[in-house]
Symmetry: C2
Subunit: 150 residues, 2 copies
């Protein structure tokens, strides 16, 4: 049957879809402001790294969890649209790069931003778990700044 | 003999050292402003990604090479000190996170900055080649700003 001649390519396709799903789950956890969902995405490890836009490098899941908790506590709504999502897999490691278009509101203001993101997943117990999330604002932030409402 | 009981741990140690060396070579290429050295570090692939501090996401080695060429052409000197370099390896993929302390001079000014960096390497033909470089300024840039000389 078609497709059966190259099982490794077929497996790669399946894993690519699973990585995309893990990546979506990460952003859904952000949009839901849900710590349980966020916890299920990350590997619980001291080796994890997280760099929020303009922020320092957070080291280990404990500090990363606290950063998300703080973000979720001060955020009313968070909407994210992803663009140019690309996935690469080498063995048990996958990395996703994409643009995040964020619209966020807090008690006092709303803002939008365009960010570059690099997300690194490792396969642990047959699940793709996030171990590195690095985001940074894209140079041109005209929209974000003009939408800022104090 | 000591060490021979766990060859995989020993191999990992060797590969960790090789990744550190590849990472050093990348920063030496930057400091040398040498395109040949820079070219030897990266994988020549459309799958490569590079995000310079505050910049957009560059896709593919052709565009990435041009960005380094432009940086090197407008830079007189570039000194980089790395801090908190950590290396992780999973199979044929390795990732390095670190802080870059940069001091750079051009014709018209000098500046310093502290950046977070994520560098991803893949093993190709027994060599660790760079496929993703993501940098972003750390929140506190007091030193960098105070050192800016127009």
């Amino acid at each position: 049957m078609a497709g059966d001649h190259n099982p490794s390519a077929r497996n790669l396709e399946i894993e690519m879809a699973r990585v995309r799903q893990a990546n979506r789950q990460f952003y859904q956890a952000m949009e839901s402001l849900d710590m349980d969902e966020m916890e299920s995405v990350w590997l619980d490890s001291a080796s994890c790294r997280c760099i929020h836009p303009g922020g320092p490098m957070l080291i280990g899941w404990d500090d990363i969890r606290e950063s998300w908790r703080a973000i979720f506590q001060t955020t009313n709504t968070l909407q994210i649209t992803l663009h140019e999502v690309t996935v690469h897999i080498e063995g048990s490691v996958a990395w996703v790069t994409c643009f995040e278009h964020l619209v966020t509101t807090t008690e006092k203001h709303s803002a939008s931003a365009v960010l570059c993101a690099s997300n690194l997943f490792v396969m642990v117990d047959a699940e793709w778990r996030l171990v590195l999330h690095h985001t940074s604002p894209v140079g041109a932030l005209d929209d974000a700044e003009s939408n800022l409402v104090q």
